[in-house]
């Protein structure tokens, strides 16, 4: 096992990796910007190195500074956390080129999965159901029409380089296709400097269901069950749960095997997530995230598997000592993301935390880098805590989440705790009649 690991991240995920390392007897090196000099990940690491000024591009995205910090502290491996450099194939390559271990997939896997078309081709090869269309770039109105007819209307025209809904056109009828193709191409060029687009079937009001996988990098992979992340606002997940309340045991088994099959087929190394849209009883592969996910704790609570420990073991060459038959889902888990943003306006609220009182008691887990006096800098994302509950079933988990949210007190910065309290109590969420755009409709109502 590693003696010393550098964590190239901040916030709750850096703390999560430090906690795993401490429990495994691994020394930790925190890197940080000047804005995070007093942050929890700096306090709890065995060593820390200031790598730059507040702007992420000069600190948490500053590859030479991070590698130099690893050099001067003698770290053997780098955990990228999530966000920042976690899915940067070039970074992973440089880390390995320096003789250090990158705790994550291979650079080639990151690059392949980061390319939508390549990822879909890999999924197709592993016999995963895709959204019809979308496997090749479209260069003309004529080929857009062929692709749309094959996929079936309504379709979406999407920018190959896009994401988060930008550069996307929805087309209901054949007659509107030509004009939408022009708009999408020019918008994509303007937004991303790359006018490549593709056409796929529009899946209306789907749920977002994703499967956590672990691979040993040598063709063995398991899945830890699925997560349902359907409560989203502007493509940002707000609440995640496991298992999905809408799947039958057969569907659960089926989608899990599909995801593990994809991971095994590409010799996937470490932890990853295979994401699907789910509508009308069908799954549609959308992408595979080549990293740890914010919502990994719900899977940890239900499966009993420590995902970060597994990442470290695979990276250190200890291997993956899990067989699919060892993994049993137990109970129900729900996570809410607590963001430093207003519950009504969603305005970010950086500042100093004056009071931080997390909930406790049975079945409650809090992953947070906050403390009394902690600073929430304006430079990074607004996630300040994850509250995760575990109980025997969904009804009990909802009751536990209500009581835990009611105990949670944060002062000094505005938070979305009140919004989360409302969502958890909403009849739509309780009854599960939601889809990925439900929250926006509900907020507007």
């Amino acid at each position: 096992m590693f003696k010393k690991v550098l964590i190239a991240n901040r916030g709750d995920v850096a703390l999560r990796v430090i906690r795993a390392c401490r429990e495994m007897g691994i020394q930790t090196v925190a890197v940080h910007s000047t804005a995070d000099a007093e942050a929890m990940h700096v306090r709890l690491a065995d060593e820390s190195v200031c790598i730059g000024p507040p702007a992420a591009k000069d600190s948490y995205l500053n590859v030479p500074a991070i590698l130099t910090a690893a050099d001067v502290t003698g770290a053997e491996a780098i955990h990228p956390g999530l966000g920042f450099l976690a899915e940067n194939a070039r970074f992973a390559e440089i880390v390995e080129g320096h003789g250090l271990t990158f705790i994550g997939p291979t650079p080639a896997q990151i690059a392949m999965l980061g390319d939508k078309i390549q990822a879909k081709q890999a999924a197709l090869k592993a016999k995963l159901p895709l959204v019809p269309g979308g496997t090749e770039l479209i260069g003309s109105v004529a080929s857009a029409q062929r692709a749309a007819l094959a996929a079936g209307f309504p379709v979406l025209i999407k920018a190959a380089a896009g994401g988060g809904g930008r550069g996307m056109q929805r087309v209901e009828r054949k007659e509107d296709l030509a004009r939408a193709f022009e708009v999408a191409t020019s918008e994509a060029t303007a937004a991303f400097g790359d006018g490549s687009v593709y056409v796929e079937k529009a899946i209306d009001r789907p749920r977002h269901i994703e499967v956590q996988v672990l691979g040993d990098g040598k063709g063995h992979a398991v899945h830890l069950g699925e997560r349902d992340c359907t409560v989203q606002r502007r493509f940002q997940k707000l609440i995640e749960e496991a298992p999905s309340p809408v799947l039958s045991p057969e569907q659960r088994d089926h989608v899990g095997r599909l995801a593990a099959g994809l991971a095994a087929s590409i010799d996937y190394r470490g932890a990853g997530t295979v994401e699907f849209l789910y509508a009308g009883g069908e799954f549609y592969f959308i992408e595979m995230n080549a990293r740890l996910q914010v919502e990994h704790p719900v899977t940890e609570l239900v499966s009993g598997v420590d995902i970060v420990e597994a990442q470290l073991k695979v990276a250190a060459g200890v291997g993956l000592d899990l067989r699919q038959d060892d993994i049993r889902a137990n109970g129900h888990a729900i996570e809410v993301r607590v963001n430093a943003e207003d519950s009504i306006t969603f305005a970010p609220s950086p500042g100093t935390v004056k009071l931080f009182h997390p909930p406790g008691g049975p079945g409650v887990r809090v992953d947070s880098h906050m403390f009394q006096g902690a600073k929430v800098p304006p430079y990074y994302d607004s996630l300040i805590a994850k509250l995760i509950v575990h109980a025997a079933d969904r009804t009990a988990a909802l009751a536990r989440m209500r009581r835990a949210l009611d105990e949670f007190v944060i002062e000094g910065v505005s938070t979305n705790l009140n919004l989360q309290r409302r969502i958890i109590r909403s009849s739509d969420f309780v009854a599960n009649t939601i889809d990925v755009v439900w929250l926006e409709r509900w907020l507007a109502a």
Partner: protein
């Protein structure tokens, strides 16, 4: 006439504040008046209270706030060299006059030697690091004023 500070009285009051757990003491005797209060910021206490919470590494505290005036901070994390090579003379020594742009030291990062010029003309008042030491971003290396 300079005010004579009765340090012992302040120390006595500070001890009383500690002893009693009060937030503030104001003490006046004739024309003399002393008011003391506990700091309001409680954040640093977290680190202080947890002996197991490690201090930032490398000897240097990572908080580059309030360096001495005239301080020349390291522009990046790396290894500092005060001379071009073993046995070579130092770029500067304490007491040297330097012009803005004169090389003060080198930071090695990613096998690249980065020369760091003086940000101002002045005298080298102190050198805060050892040759070959690792420095963080923003860590004071020299004082030139």
């Amino acid at each position: 006439m300079a005010m004579k500070i009765d340090a012992e009285a302040v120390r006595t009051l500070a001890a009383l504040l500690e002893e009693t757990g009060l937030g503030e003491i104001e003490y006046q005797d004739g024309e003399r008046r002393i008011r003391i209060a506990m700091p309001v910021v409680q954040a640093p206490a977290l680190a202080a209270a947890a002996p197991v919470m490690a201090a930032p590494a490398n000897g240097a505290s990572a908080a580059p706030e309030g360096p001495p005036a005239g301080s020349v901070p390291s522009p990046m994390v790396g290894t500092v060299y005060l001379q071009t090579g073993p046995g070579e003379p130092a770029f500067v020594k304490v007491g040297d006059r330097v012009a803005a742009g004169d090389i003060l030291f080198i930071i090695e990062a990613m096998k690249v030697m980065n020369q760091v010029p003086s940000p101002r003309s002045g005298t080298v008042r102190s050198i805060e690091v050892e040759n070959g030491q690792a420095v963080e971003y923003g860590e004071p290396v020299m004082v030139v004023e």
